[in-house]
Symmetry: C2
Amino acid sequence: MRKIYLGLLGFGNVGAGVIKILKSRGSLLRNKIGCDLVLKRICDKNLVSKRDVAVPRELLTTDANQILNDPNIDIVIELIGGIHPAKEFIEEALRKGKYVVTANKALLAEEGKEIFDLVKRHEKSIYFEASVGAGIPIIKALKEGLSADRFRRIFGILNGTTNFILSEMSERRVDFSQALAQAKRYGFAERDARLDIGGIDSLHKLIVLVYLCFGRLVSLNEVFVDGIQRISLLDVGYAEELGYEIKLLSVAERQADELELRVHPTLIPQEHLLAKVRGINNAIYVSTDLAGDLLFFGPGAGRAAAASAVVSDLQEAALDLQAGLFRRRFFATEDKTIKGLRPIDKSRSRYYIRFMVVDKPGVLAAIAGVLAKFDISIASVTQKERKRAKVVPIVMVVHEVRERDLRLAMKRIGTLKVIKEPPVTIRIEQI
Amino acid sequence: MRKIYLGLLGFGNVGAGVIKILKSRGSLLRNKIGCDLVLKRICDKNLVSKRDVAVPRELLTTDANQILNDPNIDIVIELIGGIHPAKEFIEEALRKGKYVVTANKALLAEEGKEIFDLVKRHEKSIYFEASVGAGIPIIKALKEGLSADRFRRIFGILNGTTNFILSEMSERRVDFSQALAQAKRYGFAERDARLDIGGIDSLHKLIVLVYLCFGRLVSLNEVFVDGIQRISLLDVGYAEELGYEIKLLSVAERQADELELRVHPTLIPQEHLLAKVRGINNAIYVSTDLAGDLLFFGPGAGRAAAASAVVSDLQEAALDLQAGLFRRRFFATEDKTIKGLRPIDKSRSRYYIRFMVVDKPGVLAAIAGVLAKFDISIASVTQKERKRAKVVPIVMVVHEVRERDLRLAMKRIGTLKVIKEPPVTIRIEQI
């Protein structure tokens, strides 16, 4: 039976998970692929830390060139993460004629153009099922499952950490920092969770999905991003009273011939499936003109789930390798009906707004006056009573408004003397 | 550019949908596949009915042999449905060296062994994404996405018609026959809806999923089936009061080294994602040891959705065709940890039970007495008041019980004089 040799870059959590699967499911994979997947070398700069999977010492190296320069290694698995040196390693692997499997959404989102160009030039392939939604086979579904479909919109809950934090806040009424601390205790959040909380990880994943669905590789700075750090327990509670859950959504939405891209906290109607996605779970809601509205749901984190996705890529890569010159190679197809990106200023939405005001007569009139000037129409308003408090919240829902008008109105209202904190504004998505 | 020739068997609703996509998305597909998909011939026994897509007259024929015997046709698309003559046509196509794309779940479930054997013998491939879940790319996800995963269980809402009926009953408080009539008016139900309502369509699809997940092609008579015809508006209402929705579920569940297969109405906790699947939507909830608990959701019916799935199969078939001898061929891999099927008698579940009883003292004691004899433990009981009625419902939830014991107890209770209708029993699934 033919042997296909693998080199693993990055012997961390997911890497160890992949090795476990290769060991325990070897014969299952042999049956499916028709060849043997042999792990030939494992590179990590740290070979001291204990892992819960035993590997022969001679497989280990701290020198990536032992993998990149080994002509017998067919597939390189990159699980280092981050941009450098992952990028250089992947590029060298492609130049050396190897296939690449990676879970690196940051790299694909930030340096995808160079990577995909190199893939094309060297007539190799790159596989990245684990980059979005861990074990949910969303990449495959979008690459191959909806071949002829035209995408209308994508709503994704793409970051397990932030979804866990928001779920904790909603279910256990703890505040943001307590929920974050809990996420760290469970190992769901990195020590430096800024990429998660600030929405950057969700943005990276959105860029990968947009590439697959619309054939465009957009830059990070072309997408509006807002994280969950401003979300307070107060807003979680008021949102629920209004019939909504707050989720960090990654959104791609066709607006006529433009594409609107944004990542931000969003109020979602409680009855919608996306509102029911709790804890570290992810979900991708995709609307197309043929297949209709689809939802893909599953754990967005966890070693076994991510490793499962890596191994499904290994299966695909191994099958493609065996087909050799006749292999099928995937490139996203540009949706020519999309002419460009829609600037966030033009984007329209309903909004939830919380003002913290001095509790005295005339405050509401002052706020409403400014809103009226900007042609912003109020759908509902509640002044929340708080005993013995000098500063009280006013919670408002406003009808659809241009992002730019809302921002200007909030700036103006922020200058009113009765306003004690910058107003909190959160979009409402009526899906 | 290479041309790949298609022959279409069955010019019905979905067939017309496929033709529309091939016409309108030709260049998109060309880009993705690297060849031209050319529809060479369309066969239907009825060429008189009006379709909303124009095709050149010379493509049409009533003689399937014009397709099966045409050596230039590479791929045969079978959209006739049913067992005969679809089976004979597919077999002949395979013998003639053609690839086959089909949406025919009945055929795969009932005659799959012969079909798959023939596929193997002739080294061809058969594609059937449209057979389950219409446009949801569930087949691809199970075939390729979860390569190394071991499946624990599948819960599927696999029939759009019955889910529509149950949703109507729940949302609009109409009874079964009114909901069915409504489904027919909307075109969601066939004139003869017995396959849907009786659970047979759900069973067909379960068999296809079980083949993919466990590598076993089971017979229809190995699976317990119960339809929704017994579900009354009364039960829908009481279930909701208890915190449940009633869904027709297709279940495959690993129990130690046995596999339990069943199709039946089920009470699902309202908070579960599956309980939120409304109307003609389908959902497949899959639990694996690596990827975890996944859900795939989308419209389970509709011409465009089914046609989208057929076209994604055409893409795959065309790519495989181009790879020629080096193509990847899929066969389900048998899960050797499963030794056999678990007889339904041994299956255990909580149950919802409704008795219709004469409203007089001692009735509950009589029922409870029989249950105690069979060691069936009551979790909750409500006697529903109905003014001026001589026969009143008693609604009960019982703790986990063996199917066989429950059946025997119901039989015994059915003989009590105070019982005026056969008791209604519905399983409760605590997912």
